[in-house]
Amino acid sequence: MADKAWAGTTYGGSKMHRYLVTTLRYIDVRLLYGFAAIFVVPVCLVLNESRKTAYRYFRDRHQYGRCKAMWTTYVNHCKFAQVVIDKFAMYAGKTFDVKVEGLEHFNALANGEEGFLHLSSHIGNYEIAGYTLGSDKKTIQAVVYAFEKASVMQNRNNMFSKTNVSMITLKEDMSHLFEIDQAICKGDIISFPTDRCMGQTKVVEALFMGAKAKFPQGPFSVATMRSLNVLAVNVMKTGLTQYTIYVTPLVYDKSQPRKVQMQQLIAAYTAELERQLKQYPTQWYNFYDFWN
């Protein structure tokens, strides 16, 4: 968790990740939630700069008072600890109750011939259930950062080997672009993280939660260059061991000039993100200065 930038990796070392997976095979996640809330989160709040960006997020973006912002900063970090624990619990083979809202939108596109995009964000816990929106006809090609820790990539590989999800890793050379283009031409589903500008020089500014913020141009360019349908897929924690997947179509006018299409798509994406954050304000996990 950093102040101005994001390292592009899951917090902790490989040994810690392996230990977590092993532990979670035998104990209930709720025990670790409690341990994290009492012993880990307070220490993290003292040591990490993330408390400042989270506090500013609640003060400036949600207009909370000082006391409420401090409390929700703590709750936000506890929730973050829980979703990380849940992620490793999933790697350990545990399952969660998952509800889907808007499944009909996914099914309508999944049963068609054309490829389409999933846009995800670092809110809730996309990884735990976003890829469970499977399709017999289409493979989900998940675009992921190449900087992620080897242990996390290995766990993802193990988990995805049982599903129809493949990973496309963003690389320095242009090989990932060919994989994305080929996947689109094959009619697959491309899953993009859409709220971080890692490794991308081109960004778009959009009004988001009352202030201008930068988003990577890539996902919006890819969608509009081939007039693809786009879904926002956000997976929010709605109970101790429950998640709800919200599938929302992002509508843009494909007959408009390309620039207008991109503006419409970005506006639809940020509106959906705002809708989720107003409902689940403590599930925002971009722990860096997102609006500057």
Partner: protein
């Protein structure tokens, strides 16, 4: 060839929304990426789509693309030799 070079420049300007640039601003031999026109990896994907959409060319590998996308002249040369429409 001159006409093709001009068309390619116009297609690149339109597709990449390079609003403040005219075809005359793009030198035929200048690098498209890095210090030249300053294109990035997503722009490379746009170029891949331009070749597919307008010229029926499907590129096979990143290494091949890197060579082809060196400059407007290298793209034009490749299009002349490989176009299917």
């Amino acid at each position: 060839m001159e006409q093709l070079v001009l068309t390619l420049k116009e297609q690149i300007i339109e597709t990449l929304n390079l609003e403040e640039i005219t075809p005359d601003d793009i030198e035929n031999d200048a690098p498209l990426f890095g210090d030249g026109l300053g294109l990035d990896s997503i722009d490379a994907l746009e170029l891949i789509v331009i070749l597919d959409k307008y010229y029926g060319i499907k590129l096979g590998s990143p290494a091949e693309a890197k060579e082809i996308f060196t400059s407007i002249n290298t793209i034009a040369d490749y299009v002349v030799k490989n176009r299917t429409k």
